[in-house]
């Protein structure tokens, strides 16, 4: 075979490969429009905030390694999906059965007006991310934070929060606050422990002995950040199907989570 013939065959094969690749990228094979849970379009998406980790915040608790870098994904995705099952059964919200991970490095977050974040004592924002989260909250977005414990975690959480909302005070929510009456009347709240309760029997972690139901409000008094400090609702959802995890904790966690969602969708 002469050289030019080899070149021609190679060029034809290359062109076919490029064409095939292009076709695969744009053609509709019917795979993307099926009814798989991740493809379902819905009104409500359980949106978990993925953030960068502040390595300095590890402090005296040592290295978290892989789990430290992916602190946002604690209990993910089981907690999310178990909660969505409950939400589907107990409310009329048209929610997708699977979670959605959102980040602050692009404007996609504005399509998800309710977000959930855990291990927020580890979060870290660039100025641009902080600005985006601030705008998100002031436009009408709602943030629920969970699973951080004790004084040091609180300070680390507030470091990030002050970057987002420098002038907004944090307040303790009273028992009769409207956020606890939207779907369920949650008057007598308890500290909701993580899965470690099964092993230790303790409801607290670190020095977070008392549950703190806190919030940050906007100018019109609407809660825009709901803070569950010294608690771990995510674990309660995740381990709700474990016979060793007490039902009252799980039930309370579901009721609070649903109240927070309904509040976020009505205020």
């Amino acid at each position: 075979m002469k050289l030019w013939q080899i070149a021609l065959v190679s060029a034809v094969i290359a062109a076919c490969c490029v064409g095939l690749r292009g076709y695969q990228r744009v053609a509709d094979f019917g795979f993307g429009n099926d009814d798989s849970p991740t493809n379902v379009k819905a009104e409500f998406y359980w949106s978990r905030l993925a953030y960068n980790v502040n390595m300095q915040a590890f402090g005296s608790y040592g290295h978290y390694g892989y789990w430290g870098r992916f602190a946002w994904s604690r209990d993910y995705p089981k907690a999310d999906r178990q909660f969505l099952i409950a939400m589907h059964r107990l409310t009329r919200i048209d929610g997708r059965p699977t979670e959605q991970v959102v980040t602050l490095d692009n404007d996609e977050i504005f399509n998800y007006p309710w977000i959930y974040a855990v291990q927020v004592h580890l979060w870290s924002f660039t100025d641009e991310e902080a600005k985006r989260l601030r705008e998100y909250l002031l436009k009408g977005g709602f943030l629920m934070v969970d699973d951080f414990h004790g004084t040091e975690d609180w300070e680390n959480f507030m470091n990030g929060m002050r970057q987002v909302l420098p002038d907004r005070p944090v307040e303790d929510l009273a028992s009769g606050d409207e956020i606890f009456d939207t779907l369920y009347d949650v008057d007598d709240k308890m500290q909701i422990p993580g899965e470690q309760w099964i092993r230790t029997g303790r409801t607290y972690e670190k020095d977070g002995y008392q549950p703190k139901w806190r919030a940050i409000r906007d100018d019109k008094g609407r809660i825009i950040v709901a803070i569950c400090h010294n608690m771990h609702l995510g674990d309660a959802w995740e381990w709700a199907d474990d016979p060793n995890y007490p039902e009252p904790f799980a039930s309370m966690a579901f009721r609070v989570g649903l109240d927070y969602i309904i509040y976020g969708m009505t205020h």
């Binding site: 009408g140 309904i262 969708m265 009505t266």
Partner: protein, 761 residues
């Protein structure tokens, strides 16, 4: 010349009646004329074939025409033609000379003299003496009415208004027992009765003149066209608005001499300038209409001044401004929003309405199958049993929003109540798109289908969680609902650039009478998004999406588009929803007169007309005057109460109308407030050019004539031909008119000359 040829003056022919004095049968005259004509035609035709070729054309028929005309004239004279005409008896009749004495007659545009001076000069220049030779003359001045004068020097152009129609009607009434033969009106034709934009003589005034066959001879003074002037013709703006409402005023104006130049339209509340807009002036004499957008501002009764800022060299800057009363209320309108499922649209509409102080937003949200979350309620019992089932509960709301709710969520009774709510109560209902809305919620098959402004598409798969972009239609560009920016072009552009909707629903095609204000582009489909219509006494609309919340979340922080749109849409929804007591007056600005007719419609809590209520109007006028007026029920219309009242002084008035039920323990049914103002002397600043059309119409409709001031010498003579007063009917024979002899000689001579010319003598 006319009188030389025809012997008599023109009024003999224009006002007289043609008669034939001969006793011979009148039908015989046309028969003979026809017979002779046909005979001559036959003769001409018979000889035509022997005639020279030159005569076998139209020339033969020209000869025939002249012969026939000559014969017809002779036959007509045999029947003794004459004109009978009524003429006023000398010195037995009165001629009323009415001189316009209003302020506009002081305009000096009659060869350097004021119009009134020109009128006086015309009268003194022989007209008055000419009239006095034949008639008794009475002088009157005209302003708001007519007043008799002794001498011309008593005229002084200071009257604040010209009511020509009312004045002539008054004159006819006051001289009913006098032999008035004619009226001579010297005026510029500025008639103020119909308001600044009106220009007609009332039908009742014309009727009173016609009943007495009184001819009005009008003499017009002043320039018909202005050289350099801008005049505001009309201002149209709502009479009442809610706090901080964005209002549109429509200003109509004309100009002469400033075509193509720029002028500034302004609206002021006292010293505060609410809005201004620069416009390009249209060609001379063309009525130009422009809109001005402004905020109603704080609550209270206001007097807004709309103005075209005077241009350099303008002849009459006083006609550049008008005032209009505006009542701004802070009354909260209650809107009920029922939503079938938690969704973002619900949240963000609520947030938009939280910023509107004029709305109390009451919501009921189905959070689970058996739970309804209520917000914005007045007391714990409100909506505790769900959606209202009694009219007095539902009709309390000025508007209703129905979100993603299946039609069968409502019982048949509630469905009928909703229909009555719009049709009878006059409320507004807005339907939102959603997975249980419109066709997907079974609304097309429900009895409430009538309420919808569209024909819904078939099936239940018309709601899609896909993106759609939006754009205004032509109707939407003009609508205050969709006005995000004042400039129409920029506003249309803003809509195109709005971020996409999160979802959309195919609402079908609009019904006849419905308006599509916004449409959306969904894939390759173009669908209506916002559709409005009037239904019965109320209105309904569809917003075929549940995804406008993206306008709030995805536009820049602080962008008002989402909130502004929803506030405007919901204000439209409730703005015309009447309260139980609704008061109205025909005109809010009373020009030079204080006659006000109050009409009040009273309903009970079920919105049925109430005819046994006690209705009073407490009127607060200038200088704190306070008057209580009782209104009486109409015999014809149930629930309607009326009263007539006179505002004696110029200034602003505010009337609070209250209705209470009858009985030993009266209960207040409701109240309404309206404002109006009386303005004296303002109308005279407008239409200062001579209204020749009005003067010509007045004279022609009464049997008179319009006269130029420079051509009045025949007025004393011609005015005598009138059927009013003491008149005699004279018969004027026509056979001896010079023109007859001219024709009798001229026709044969012309025929002979033509024959010679054509060589057929």
């Amino acid at each position: 010349m006319f009188q030389f040829l025809f012997k008599y003056s023109s009024p003999v022919f224009t006002k007289g009646r043609f008669v034939l004095l001969s006793t011979w049968p009148k039908w015989l005259l046309p028969v003979l004329i026809l017979g002779f004509s046909v005979g001559l035609a036959t003769l001409v035709r018979r000889r035509l074939r022997d005639a020279s070729p030159k005569m076998q054309t139209w020339r033969a028929w020209a000869i025939w025409g002249m012969q026939s005309a000559c014969v017809a004239l002779i036959l007509l004279l045999l029947w003794q033609p004459a004109m009978t005409v009524s003429a006023l008896s000398s010195q037995q009749n009165i001629v009323a000379v009415v001189v316009d004495d209003s302020r506009s007659m002081a305009v000096a545009d009659s060869d350097g003299k004021t119009r009134e001076a020109a009128a006086t000069a015309a009268l003194q220049d022989g007209i008055l003496s000419g009239l006095q030779k034949r008639f008794q003359v009475r002088l009157y001045r005209l302003g708001n009415g007519v007043t008799q004068l002794d001498r011309l020097d008593q005229l002084l152009p200071v009257q604040t208004a010209t009511h020509i129609g009312d004045g002539l009607k008054q004159l006819a009434a006051e001289t009913a027992d006098l032999p008035i033969g004619a009226i001579v009106l010297l005026s510029d034709g500025g008639e103020n009765t119909a308001g600044m934009s009106g220009s007609g003589i009332g039908i009742d005034a014309l009727q009173s003149l016609r009943n007495r066959r009184l001819p009005v001879h009008t003499v017009g003074f002043g320039k018909v066209n202005r050289a350099h002037d801008v005049e505001l013709e009309d201002v149209s703006v709502v009479s009442s608005a809610i706090l901080n409402a964005r209002l549109t005023a429509t200003l109509s104006f004309k100009q002469d001499g400033f075509a193509g130049q720029k002028a500034t339209l302004t609206v002021r509340d006292g010293d505060k300038r609410l809005a201004a807009r620069e416009v390009m002036l249209a060609p001379n004499g063309v009525l130009q209409t422009e809109q001005l957008f402004f905020s109603a501002g704080t609550a209270g009764a206001k007097s807004l001044r709309f103005e075209i800022e005077p241009l350099a060299g303008e002849e009459n800057p006083d006609n550049n401004a008008m005032t209009q009363p505006l009542l701004v209320t802070d009354t909260k309108r209650r809107i009920l929003y029922i939503e079938g499922e938690p969704r973002w649209e619900f949240k963000f509409i609520r947030r938009a309405e939280e910023d509107d102080p004029t709305v109390q937003f009451v919501t009921m949200l189905r959070t689970s199958e058996n739970k309804v979350y209520r917000q914005g309620i007045s007391d714990p019992s409100e909506l505790a049993d769900g959606f209202p089932v009694r009219p007095e509960n539902l009709f309390d709301y000025a508007g209703i929003i129905i979100g993603s709710v299946d039609a069968d969520y409502f019982t048949p009774l509630q469905q009928e109540l909703l229909r009555e709510y719009v049709d009878r109560r006059g409320g507004g209902v807005l339907f939102l798109g959603g997975r249980s809305s419109l066709s997907d919620g079974g609304w097309g098959a429900s009895s409430m289908n009538d309420l919808l402004p569209t024909f819904l598409p078939p099936g239940r798969n018309n709601f899609h969680r896909n993106s759609a972009t939006v754009e205004l239609t032509a109707a939407g560009v003009d609508s205050p609902i969709t006005r995000l920016l004042d400039d129409p072009a920029k506003n249309a552009d803003r809509w195109k650039k709005l971020t996409y909707l999160a979802d959309y629903e195919d609402a079908g095609s609009p019904k006849p009478g419905a308006s599509v204000l916004v449409q959306m582009n969904a894939g390759h489909r173009r669908l209506p998004l916002l559709i409005t219509q009037n239904y019965g006494h109320g209105r309904t609309a569809i917003m075929a999406t549940g995804g406008t919340w993206r306008w709030q979340m995805s536009e820049a922080l602080g962008d008002p588009s989402h909130d502004l749109f929803w506030q405007q849409l919901l204000r439209w929804l409730v703005a015309d929803s009447p309260g139980p007591v609704t008061a109205s007056i025909p005109q809010r600005v009373l020009m030079d007169e204080g006659h006000v007719q109050f009409s009040v419609q009273v309903h009970d809590r079920q919105f049925q007309p109430t005819s046994d209520a006690h209705v009073t109007a407490n009127i607060v006028g200038p200088e704190g005057t306070n008057t209580l007026v009782d209104l009486t029920p109409s015999r014809d219309t149930p629930g309607l109460y009326q009263a007539v009242w006179t505002a004696e002084k110029p200034g602003a008035y505010l009337a609070e109308v209250t209705a209470a039920s009858a009985g030993a323990q009266p209960e207040e049914l409701g109240s309404d407030v309206l404002t109006f103002q009386r303005e004296d002397g303002i109308a005279e600043n407008f239409h200062v050019e001579q209204n020749r059309t009005l003067l010509e119409q007045l004279s022609s409709q009464t049997g008179g004539r319009y006269w130029e001031p420079s051509d009045l010498k025949n007025l004393p003579r011609d005015i005598a031909y009138s059927e009013a007063g003491i008149s005699v009917r004279t018969t004027n024979e026509l056979w001896n008119m010079p023109v007859v002899f001219v024709l009798l000689l001229g026709l044969p001579i012309a025929e002979w000359l033509l024959r010679r010319k054509w060589g057929v003598v």
